[in-house]
Symmetry: C2
Subunit: 514 residues, 2 copies
């Protein structure tokens, strides 16, 4: 079955095989639907002359740049709906070409949509027109994908924004380095996209968001080049890089960044700890996050999530604890981490110390998650996830409220459903809970079903003290809750900056603000 | 000898006793000068009626709010020069009073200068009038100094902005917590001042700047309340707190913040490691900073600095390495840290493991530094420090260039002089070198002498790839180099925000931008 125009990638057949029996055990007999051929509207504008050498208006290219990869994006694509397609796609190969793109878009009143891997799950790359716009151009950065320089003394590298995860890691590996930033979209998403959306890497505590890895950024704005200098830290005014992180393509297009890289780990130590009680497991996660041990991974799965992932089948919540180092053996670290978990009521299940490859195989299985979502769409299962971060004090209340609100919405919308929770990240002051929900889809009504569940879940998150997103970004989907979350004077400040740097409003209209 | 109106605090007699012989061994016989009585100009404006209940126009109060505590500030005060005095000082006790202050200043065309401990060394609290201003009011926040709430589950506390270091630590201690943020000004500076200036705490790696400790901020702007929510982390748009950190009182007045706090350390382990060669010592610091061991302290003194501090007298550079934890013994951590340093050519001198108080006594001696500067002024010695951060790759060149340029300037200006270097902070990608210089002052000509050395040193820093400040902030003193450092579109964005939030330009005119 073809997934090229709508799915995550080439993995559907495998995913269907792996997931069908499990899905049917919840939802009964499921039938497969076939994707429809893409319907792409005719372009509203022609490609401006100066951009022709590196642009395309082919229907397939435009379809591939229409949506991100959220559940509803993929459902729309599956049904052949590419109504939001950009009028053309530009693929600048140099900064000079990109500069021309911004000039031409401003002059010709075209919205310019920066596009990295196109893996946004929040409507971050979906073209919209601002007022007075004649059409839209999606600016695909992936032709700019080189590691330009490695500073092996300072452990930093200058990398072009369009490099996707495996491409940049492949260039760093021969010199013994890794960026070690693993968002779930790692296979397809780009450095520039990570920075623009404040992506969070998995299998990490301490350095989780890309924000912490950025040493300096180069961004083209419609009003000049935003280039920061390379400093390990500075106290000179507000940090300009922190304004670019999370700007989601609204202030400029990121072209390069110096990022902090790590020597590839040599030592690894890990353990799985099982808990009868989720609250006790959350308590153990908290204590480890406040211990100063800084595990490479501290990931908690509740009983349902552990069952879905076949990590435990006896109703236990599972804490996955791992340490990594390029410098020293980790026995003391793991021993103490496990002791903390055991004192909180956990039972150690398995441990590996040394140069084990367990972490690698586990990571590669994690990266397969989005392929399963493709399979769910084919099988008619509503399947999505949402995530947040809150304080440890707020977590028990948030967990209860969000689970309840999401389950109630699924009952209403799908008849029944399943909600699971894990901690993807933990901080000394709170966890980043990640929720997955599954329900029986009404063929053709998925978008409305999803919207109702999403609304209920997001309202509950915000009511209970969570942020609307820990690492999925704001885009267009999270706007209503982001608008409640950010301070009003900050919104005014952002709009003032936007008017200053992008007076024609060409950059990613509708994202972050109007 | 009185220091009340010009010096760091009550410690001059002790400081003179401790430093005189050492200073004379460098500069020959030194004589003591006596401070002059303060000359404070008459106020240009009266205190507006609605502010009278919590304001003063007494000459002493106005003198105490005229300058910060830089070398030149103290020299000016020592000579009785208080020409920049604010017209009056307001001491709001509540947010409602502060709101009135901002309204009244805007209405009456008065510059409003936010003031915490007044320990700025960059001209950050010195009143200047913007265009159209009639006068100036300094807004002293120290009446707002309570710890309002401790969340002992999430390890965070809500603290009013005017709390000085010891005041907030005293309120946290009974509950077993510490903020553990120790700028050298700790004794006098405030939480709000730390946030506004991106202060750096000493005896820290990993969590160095206050930026990393902030969970949420409340700031009054002339256009409304900027209140962020408490999240351990978020990916929702650019981080609003990071725009407040380093805003130096130009966008609003910080009134409270939730900050991450730590359980008071129980375990400590430390060692001093001596190196014949400064380059080897720097290399060891680099390897430790890249090891993932995260020492509580990793501080390197070059031979001159070690001599001045009487830490070594045989020409060795000294690396002070310390670990702290509330959770676990640190033997494995210290052992590995020392092994890395020894492999880089160091020789371990002394080690203490356990609940030693060495770190405490050393910290208290460090906090005495600014008192020595008072003594130098009395003795007629030009004495100041400046600091930066750069990549490890840039450091050898920066060290050579800055030492050379500063020595040459001292030779020109003072006949001779002494320059020392230490690392106050180290990061995986680079150190924060801190330079101290001493020279014979020309009585009455100190300000000009200082300005020439400062210019030479700052030009060299920037030329060699350093930031103009790692933790002293920009203020008015560092403006020329800050203006070269920040990207031009960022400056435009900042000015646009300023116009939006403070259209009358009342807040701290001349700081960060015009």
């Amino acid at each position: 079955m073809e997934t090229g125009h709508w799915g995550w990638g080439d993995g559907l057949t495998d995913a269907l095989g792996g997931v069908r029996a499990r899905a049917e055990s919840f939802f009964g007999k499921l039938s497969e639907e076939r994707p429809r051929s893409p319907r792409v509207p005719a372009p509203r504008v022609e490609i401006p002359r100066t951009l022709r050498a590196f642009s395309t208006a082919e229907a397939h290219d435009r379809a591939m740049h229409t949506w991100g990869k959220s559940y509803v994006d993929r459902v729309r694509g599956f049904r052949g709906d590419f109504s939001a397609a950009p009028d053309f796609v530009v693929r600048p190969r140099t900064e000079a070409e990109l500069e021309t793109v911004l000039e031409v878009c401003e002059r010709n009143r075209l919205a310019a949509i920066p596009f990295g891997g196109g893996t946004s799950v929040v409507g971050g790359v979906e073209p919209r027109l601002g007022k007075n716009h004649q059409g839209s151009a999606t600016v695909d950065l992936r032709a700019m994908c080189r590691v330009l320089e490695v500073d092996d003394i300072s452990c930093a590298a200058c990398i072009e924004a369009g490099a996707v995860g495996p491409v940049l890691e492949r260039q760093l590996a021969p010199q013994g380095f890794t960026l070690r930033h693993f968002p779930q979209s790692f296979e397809f998403s780009t450095l520039g996209g990570w920075i623009a959306t404040r992506a969070g890497g998995h299998f990490a505590t301490l350095y989780t968001h890309i924000d912490e890895m950025v040493e300096s950024i180069r961004m083209l704005t419609p009003r000049g080049v935003w280039q920061t200098k390379r400093f390990p830290s500075s106290g000179a005014g507000p940090n300009p890089d922190r304004l670019v992180c999370g700007s989601e393509g609204t202030l400029g297009v990121i072209t390069q960044a110096w990022v902090r890289i790590h020597r590839a780990p040599v030592y690894r130590a890990s353990a799985s700890i099982h808990f009868r009680d989720f609250a006790a497991a959350a308590g153990a996660s908290r204590e480890i996050s406040q211990s100063g041990l800084f595990p490479a991974n501290c990931r908690l799965l509740d009983a349902q999530e552990a069952l879905l992932n076949q990590v435990s089948t006896d109703g236990a919540s599972v804490l996955l604890l791992a340490f990594e180092s390029a410098d020293h053996p980790l026995d003391a670290w793991l021993e103490r981490g496990v002791a903390v978990a055991e004192a909180a009521g956990g039972r150690r299940e398995a441990a590996t110390t040394g140069k084990a490859e367990a972490a690698e195989s586990w990571r590669s299985s994690f990266l397969k998650g989005p392929y399963l979502q493709d399979a769910m769409i084919v099988l008619g299962v509503l399947a999505d996830s949402f995530e947040t971060a809150c304080t440890w004090a707020a977590f028990p209340g948030l967990y209860a409220e969000v689970m309840e609100a999401t389950r109630a919405a699924l009952d209403r919308v799908c008849g029944c459903g399943l909600v699971t929770c894990r901690f993807t990240h933990v901080y000394p002051d709170g966890p980043a809970p990640y929720f997955t929900f599954l329900g029986k889809a009404k063929r053709g009504g998925e978008v409305e079903q999803w919207a109702e569940v999403k609304q209920a879940a997001s309202d509950a998150l915000v009511r209970a003290g969570g942020t609307i997103t820990h690492h999925h970004a704001v885009g267009r989907t999270h706007r209503p809750w982001f608008d409640q979350e950010r301070p009003e004077p900050f919104a005014r400040a952002l709009r003032a900056m936007k008017r200053e740097l992008d007076p024609a409003g060409i950059l990613n209209p509708g994202v972050l603000f109007d």
